[in-house]
C-alpha cells in the first residue's frame, strides 16, 4: 500500500478537525431558543425566530452580527434588547454591531417570507431517502462574518407529501428492496409525483392482494385443520361407540 493513497483520508480528517476548532473559537454564540415549524409547504408564508441570550458572555466586547435567509422576498430583522437600550437592523442581509457597553442581554433574530421552491431555481432537491436535501435555510446567522448557526426547515409540496406518504406505506407493505418501490422512489426524486403515487399504490395493492391471498390460505388451512380435528374426533368417537366385543 502506498503512502500517498492512504494519506488522502487522513488529510481530510485533519482539515475537518481544524475547521471545527476554528469555528469553536470564532463562533461562541448559541441559539437559546428557536421558534420554527418542523416543515413548511412550498409557496406558503412563514416566519422563524431565534434568540441569543447573554450575548457577551465569553464573547468579545464588540462584534458585528449578521443574518441571511433563503425565503423568497425574505426580510430579516436583528433586534438587540437590554434593560437600557434597544437596537435593531432589518433588510435582506442586515448587520448589527453590538458592544458590551450597551448592556444588551438578548438578541432576537427573525426571518420571514415565502417558502422557496425545491429545485427549479430554489435551493435543495427532492430526495425520498435523504429528506435533508429537501430542506432550505430559513435563517443563517454570522458573527464578524464567521458562521454561528442556521435554522434549516423541511419543505414539501402537496404532491410530494402525498407521494412520500404513499411510498412509506408501500415500503411498509412490501419492504424497501422491492424493484417497484425503487422505481417509485426514482420517480419521486425526479419530481414525477403522480407517477410515483400510481407506482406506490400498485405496490400496495399487490401486497394487499397477496396478503389477502395468504390470509385466505391461512383461513382455509385453519378450516381444514378444524374439519380434520372434528372428523378425527368423530371417527374416534364412533370407533369407541362401536361394539367390538365378541362375546356379548
Amino acid at each position: 500500500m502506498s503512502w500517498i493513497r492512504s494519506s488522502k483520508p487522513l488529510l481530510a480528517g485533519l482539515l475537518i478537525v481544524a475547521a471545527l476548532g476554528m469555528a469553536g473559537t470564532v463562533a461562541g454564540l448559541e441559539f437559546a431558543d428557536v421558534t420554527a415549524d418542523d416543515e413548511l409547504e412550498v409557496g406558503s408564508q412563514a416566519e422563524v425566530e431565534v434568540v441569543i441570550e447573554e450575548p457577551f458572555d465569553g464573547e468579545p466586547d464588540e462584534y458585528t452580527i449578521g443574518a441571511s435567509t433563503e425565503f423568497v422576498d425574505g426580510s430579516v430583522t436583528i433586534t438587540a434588547d437590554g434593560p437600557a437600550n434597544t437596537d435593531s437592523a432589518s433588510g435582506e442581509n442586515p448587520e448589527l454591531t453590538v458592544t458590551a457597553e450597551d448592556g444588551y442581554d438578548e438578541i432576537t433574530i427573525t426571518a420571514s417570507g415565502e417558502v422557496p421552491q425545491i429545485g427549479e431555481g430554489g435551493p435543495g432537491e427532492f430526495s425520498y431517502e435523504d429528506p435533508e436535501n429537501e430542506q432550505f435555510t430559513a435563517l443563517s446567522v454570522t458573527q464578524n462574518n464567521g458562521p454561528v448557526d442556521s435554522v434549516a426547515v423541511d419543505r414539501f409540496t402537496t404532491e410530494s407529501q402525498t407521494a412520500r406518504e404513499r411510498i412509506d406505506e408501500a415500503v411498509e407493505a412490501a419492504g424497501e428492496d422491492d424493484d417497484d418501490i425503487r422505481a417509485a422512489i426514482e420517480l419521486y426524486d425526479s419530481g414525477s409525483f403522480e407517477q410515483a403515487i400510481t407506482q406506490a399504490e400498485n405496490v400496495i395493492d399487490d401486497a394487499e392482494s397477496s396478503e389477502q391471498r395468504s390470509q385466505l390460505l391461512l383461513i382455509g388451512g385453519g378450516v381444514l385443520i378444524v374439519a380434520a380435528l372434528i372428523g378425527g374426533g368423530y371417527y374416534v368417537y364412533s370407533q369407541r361407540q362401536q361394539d367390538t366385543h365378541k362375546l356379548q
Binding site: K246, L247, Q248
Partner: protein, 390 residues
Amino acid sequence: MKLAMIGFGQAGGKIVDKFIEYDKRTDSGIVRSAAAVNTAKADLLGLEHVPENNRVLIGQARVKGHGVGADNELGAEIAEEDIGEIQGAIDSIPVHEVDAFLIVAGLGGGTGSGGSPVLAKHLKRIYTEPVYGLGVLPGSDEGGIYTLNAARSFQTFVREVDNLLVFDNDAWRKTGESVESGYEEINDEIVRRFGVLFGAGEVGVGDDVAESVVDSSEVINTLAGGGVSTVGYDAESVELGNSGGLLSRFKSGDDDEIASANTTNRITSLVRKAALGRLTLPCEIEGAERALLVVSGPSEHLNRKGIERGRKWLEEQTGSMEVRGGDYPIDEPNVAAAVLLSGVHNVPRIKELQQVAIEAQENIDEIQEESEENLDTLVEDDEDELDPLF
C-alpha cells in the same frame, strides 16, 4: 379357523353379510372369503359387506332375477343348471388358505333351501376341504309350505354336507318383535355363536395365547363324523380386574382362593346353561356323539379347573368320551362358554317338523287331486248343455 362362506338365498346372504361385519368389527379373522348366491336380484343388492364381484345371480333365464317363490325344487334345478356361475365366484377364493367351506342357507325358502344341497354336493366332489352347512329352520308359525321345504331340504342337505349345523328360528322367536328387528337379532345370535366357535384358534399378534388352544383341527374333528350339530352358548359380564393397586399386595391369600373358586363355578355354570338351555337346535344332549367346549373371556377369568370340570360334565351328560375343550382368551369384560354338540340324534323339533311337513304334503296332494274335479264342477253346467266356443 378360516372359512370360505357362501350364503345361498336371502337368509344365507344376510347371515354371511353379518358374519363379515362381525369379523371386521371384532377383528376375528374367520371369514377368509365370502360369496352370496341368489335368484332374486333385490336380495343381492341389499347386502352391504359381501364384495360385489362375489354376488352371483343365478337362474336369470328362468326367473329373470325375481326369485323362485318358495319353490325349492325350482331352486335346486336352477342351482344345478347354473353351477358353473357359482363356481366362477368360488374360483376367486384362495382355497389353500381356507380350512373349510360353510354354506349358509335358510331351509324354509326356495333358492337356499333347494340350491345349497346342490352346491354342497358340487363342492365336495371338487375340493378336499370339508364342506359344512349352516341351515336355518323356519319358525313353526311361518306356514306349512315353508315347513315342508325345510323338511325336504334338511334331509338332502344333511346327506350332502360333512356336517350340518342347525339353527332353529322357532327356539329364538320372541313375541312382539317386528319382522326386521326379529331377524336382525336372530342373525346376531347366529353370528356371535359361530364367531366364537370358529374364531377360537385365530390368534393375532399381541393377543393372549390360550393355555389349550382350540385349533381348527379340533373343530374339524368334532364335526368329522357327519350328521347334525347344534351349538349352545351363554355369556356373562365380569369386571375387568385391576391387577395393580397398592392394597392388593396386602390382601390375604384367601381372597385369591375365593376368586379362583368363583371363576371355576362361573365357568361350570356357564357350560351347563349353554348346553341345557341355549342350543341353536334344542335337543336331548344325551347321545351326542362328539362335543367341543370353548371357554372365552379375559385370561384372569379363565382357569383350567373350570374348563376341565365343564368338559367332564359334558362327558357325563352326553355319554361320549370324545369331548374336546380349550380356552380362548379375549380382552373384554365378558366370559362365555360355547358348546358344539355334533352328531345329535334325539331332536324332537325335527320330528315335529317332519310331521307337519307330511301333513302339508298330503294336503297339497289332496288339493291338487281335487283341484281339476272342482274346477270342472264350477265351469261345466249341471246338464252339460253348454258348448265351449272352440
